[in-house]
Symmetry: C2
Amino acid sequence: MPEMPDSIDDTSPVTAAMVIIGNEILSGRTQDANLAYAATRLNDFGIQMREVRVIPDVEATIIATVNELRQKFHYVFTTGGIGPTHDDITAESIAKAFKVPIAIDPMARALLKEHYGADNLTEARLRMARVPEGAVLIDNPLSRAPGFQIGNVLVMAGVPVVMKSMIDSVAPRLIGGNPVLSRTVTALVRESDIAIGLENIQSKYDTVEIGSYPFFKKNMVGANLVLRGTDAALLEQVVGDLKSLIRDLGAEPLDETPA
Amino acid sequence: MPEMPDSIDDTSPVTAAMVIIGNEILSGRTQDANLAYAATRLNDFGIQMREVRVIPDVEATIIATVNELRQKFHYVFTTGGIGPTHDDITAESIAKAFKVPIAIDPMARALLKEHYGADNLTEARLRMARVPEGAVLIDNPLSRAPGFQIGNVLVMAGVPVVMKSMIDSVAPRLIGGNPVLSRTVTALVRESDIAIGLENIQSKYDTVEIGSYPFFKKNMVGANLVLRGTDAALLEQVVGDLKSLIRDLGAEPLDETPA
């Protein structure tokens, strides 16, 4: 994986990738609800999401994907496939990716025993206590069955409420850089009318990323101009330039997209 | 890319990957709304979505991702980055991926001229008429600026209404295999109680994929059991086995998830 920044004053970004494991997302049956939350929450802690992959419940694919991404990014987050059924193969696949054995973790077993009761600790439920050797558990306050972290890979549940509680519990303990701040200015002009002016502004500021996202709604055409960067004062300056540009085009800049 | 099936009786699946290009999805600001529609619609035409990547508006990343995926899958669909602004770099990047020049396409130019009027065909708007050499246009009935197909790569807009109309216009002309059919049975039992029985049923049927997706809502715990395969009669048989399993556990199988 890339080297971590040396200090909190270092401006090198801390990066992450996410692997969404699940045939149900790929088939279109279920809409992913985890990426937006994870990306936003990680950014609060100075970790920037740089790539996401949605892959099927296929062992070889999980192994290859995780092994590629954990070399490229500081952190890799996986969601899905850590339940008790036959199609839950994430923990086993991650152990194979790291070439370590997998076994029932005593702490995870204790959590499940407390949750289900000693008499109901079935074989299927004990599957959820299996973690790769050397992994650290990630707390699941909701349904107890934990996630885990091994190396720079964090393995989380796919059910959105559980995934949210897991990311909330691990994010504060990760090493992050400067959070990316963003400002949005809405222009009620066609994107193609503002394009040249926008390019000129972008070329003046190389540490602020300007994205233009057009919208079309009930007789209204416009674009949300989204600025992203780590320097709040500089963002404010670019907001000023953008507002002048929009006024030069005869429109009034808005701070919010009209409903 | 993998070889196409020889005939419509061939059971080899026709596969696709999707590349969602856009910093706004990666940052969590915007929720992707295209994957679920594209996957469902392509499946109607016998094309199975096998991998999705969300990547930033970075030329080298777009080139490497598209070149990797177009070798692995029959079709690659991209969304995003074909508008008129400086951050719209998809068409240029695809041309570089295929090592072909990019130029203004006369047909695309004519479409834009008709839409905006000859006097308003600005430099920024003409950017949207640039397509790689050898590409075929994809119709955009909504805002005219077309997508395009080059080789097995189909380049579409990111705005969901436009993307939907583009996929509807191209899907029928693609070569597909047998559509994957699906059936869902809902069990109001804990997933961990049904896991062993489910694994036994799965082991009987190697051409039907059984997925188990737990849910937790207002005092109700259960799992949606989703069967996927191309043989309708066989799916029906597996549905029968699942319903027996659920009844053996003392619950009544449901055809729909309770609200």
